[in-house]
Symmetry: C2
Subunit: 404 residues, 2 copies
């Protein structure tokens, strides 16, 4: 008789953003006259930039003509895209990453969720707390964790690394043994960043202990300060211990277009086996490449025109981050983030629980944010706001929050 994967039964509730979506839909149904402002899920609101739109139209036209029609894409991505990524995101920053170390995909969420497959079930994972739920949930599903400990609010057999205001939301090196270490900087949900010298400590630790760092750099485009690394491969020795995830979602507003990539250096080997080859095999067997038209859109992001346009787009989101920061300051909230990241991480007033604050904000201000505890127990009493709304909505949301 067929049996389910009962690791799925260990998962808690539904995926955080599905729960939020449900709560909001229910509130909307009960209050059809209220104008809700969403500063919750990290979705962008600005349209695709003209250079991208133009590239899409051009590629669509190619698909309509036999001579230029494209069938299956190369599993690992078109050379035109992998080469421009290697040059502009890595070589231009002094990182020696080659085009064939880049795996183009339909987004960093998929890659972050799927990467654990190529590692054995007996690896111990380490994650920040709070943390983007996908890292933990994908490992729970695979059976790489124990059951959920209700009292602790955490899964057993996972190393949680607390990120609190005391350590400026940058975790200490784990004291317990950890094999696969998930790091995300600029951080989701806290908006914190890590300095290059601090990240170098992690790389050294991983190389010394034979650990692999799974480095999520999806928010890299928001970095504006000089001593903040854009890639883990800016650190010495990262090519033997790190995998990096990148996304076009927040860089260029591709959340609805789906494009990302993963960097696995050929020098990364475990017990003599190339991790790069395992991921190539996984892609070849279970994936069929990102759409040609979307890869052309990704290429346009790197053109001079495209770069200029997405820079302007990100600048607009940063104005929103400033509006949120100033509003919170005026209203007397404690918060961090929002400088090299699109996320603002605030302390709930009066030690209110994250979900109580969610309900309060939805009910009294008609503003949707993300409860910090949804990202882990150390996110309790915190709350995430994003800078991805429109300017008018962000201003209106802050006006309402100040009135609370």
């Amino acid at each position: 008789m067929a049996k389910i994967n009962d690791n799925y039964l260990k998962l808690q509730g539904s995926y955080l953003f599905s729960t939020i979506g449900k709560k909001v839909r229910e509130y909307e149904a009960a209050n059809p006259d209220k104008k809700i402002i969403r500063l919750g899920i990290g979705d962008v609101t600005q349209p695709l930039v003209p250079a991208v739109i133009e590239a899409l139209h051009k590629a669509v036209d190619e698909m309509g003509i036999a001579e230029s029609f494209k069938g299956y894409a190369p599993d690992l991505g078109y050379a035109f895209l992998r080469e421009v990524i290697a040059q502009k995101d890595f070589k231009d920053r002094g990182c020696s990453i080659e085009a064939d170390e880049i795996f183009v995909s339909d987004g960093a969420k998929c890659d972050c969720g799927n990467i654990q497959e190529i590692f054995g079930l007996d690896n111990k994972i380490a994650v920040c707390d709070p943390v983007y739920p996908v890292y933990v949930d994908s490992n729970v599903m695979a059976g790489r964790t124990g059951v959920f400990d209700e009292a602790a609010g955490q899964f057993k057999d996972v190393v949680y690394m607390p990120c609190t205001s005391e350590n400026a939301f940058v975790p200490e090196l784990p004291k317990e043994k950890a094999d696969l270490i998930y790091l995300c900087f600029p951080n989701n949900p806290t908006g914190a960043v890590i300095k290059k010298s601090e990240l170098q400590n992690w790389v050294d630790y991983a190389n010394k202990n034979g650990a692999v760092i799974l480095y999520d750099a999806a928010y890299e485009a928001f970095i504006e300060e000089d001593d903040v690394p854009h890639s883990i491969f800016e650190c010495k020795g990262a090519e033997t211990c790190a995998i990096e995830f990148r996304s076009f979602s927040k860089t260029a507003g591709f959340t609805g277009l789906r494009l990302g990539f993963t960097v696995i250096p050929k020098a990364l080997k475990l017990d003599g086996v190339s991790v790069h080859d395992l991921w190539a095999r996984r892609h070849g067997t279970k994936y069929n490449g990102a759409p040609y038209i979307v890869q052309r859109a990704g290429e346009a992001v790197y053109s001079d025109e495209g770069r200029k346009q997405i820079k302007e787009q990100i600048a607009k989101y940063k104005v929103n981050a400033k509006i949120i920061a100033e509003g919170l300051k005026e209203a007397g909230y404690e918060f961090s983030g929002g400088i090299n990241a699109p996320y603002i991480w605030l302390k709930t007033p009066g030690n209110m629980s994250s979900w109580d604050f969610f309900d309060l904000l939805l009910d009294k201000a008609n503003v949707v944010g993300t409860p910090g505890v949804g990202f882990g127990p150390h996110g309790e009493h915190y709350f995430r706001l994003t800078a991805f709304g429109s300017k008018a909505n962000t201003e209106e949301a802050m006006r309402r929050i100040k009135l609370l």
Copy 2:
């Protein structure tokens, strides 16, 4: 210390089509003057139909304007697409499948590869032999099989169901216990189809034994005979034992656009747990939806204009299938398929091995096909040709094959 998933080391060689690609590239490099015709990998060659191109341009324009811009798609697909699929592919054929039982994805290969995740590692899988490699390889990677038995040419702890000319390439019900049964009709690679009454036997068997049928109907659009079911849900009781995979790749030439869907009825439960809910959770955690513009392209396939155009496109591929069939007949080959399917399955001449015939065809006729043994040991001495080339290329390939 981090460890790899050593199930990957059980995999044999590289993925079949990667190996073929490599052989062809090497031959091309050594013989730059030869004009190679590809009738190997099942990739289409005709451009996207005008209705699809129009829908893509329209959707691209929407993405360039703030008011109509779309960010993250619903994880499970846009309602506009799920509803038209439910109506036209299922309800119109008398299958009671609802829109919320349809999960839109970036293609059937991904879904076929990922579906095993939601089932326990202790399930025994049954596959046809020969078989599309993804079903077996994805289970090898997960650790649901034993090691590869060199002598048998098969993985241990897998139930292989021989498909031979004796059973018209439709397997017998398995005598051994099997929990997850992969079936594909119209079949890749043999081009065989199953009659509705025969498929009903499988559904009855699965319901009786608590097995789940993973039914790959990617080639459904090629069915032209009346007693051949387009969906397993045409069979009574399939909603409690079957999952169906569909693809836009061969239906509408979307191999480079990436769109497919999986149908999981809500009535399918294992030990009281809804399989539909598990897959929804998987999608919510590890997937972020197919691109909006591609889902609009999928919708256009179901418009009156779109349907007419893709029907004409498939008719052209069927002309190629006839050209291949007639050519093989003239040249004295034994073969089957090519009527309700884009694949022709031929017996190699003089009991030649599949790879020897591959090399001969590449070397002497500069035609690329797929060695039958690449799909399993019962594919040895067979060879797959596809009808997806251009008419001129198909004619030229058959002219050359006849000269062998």
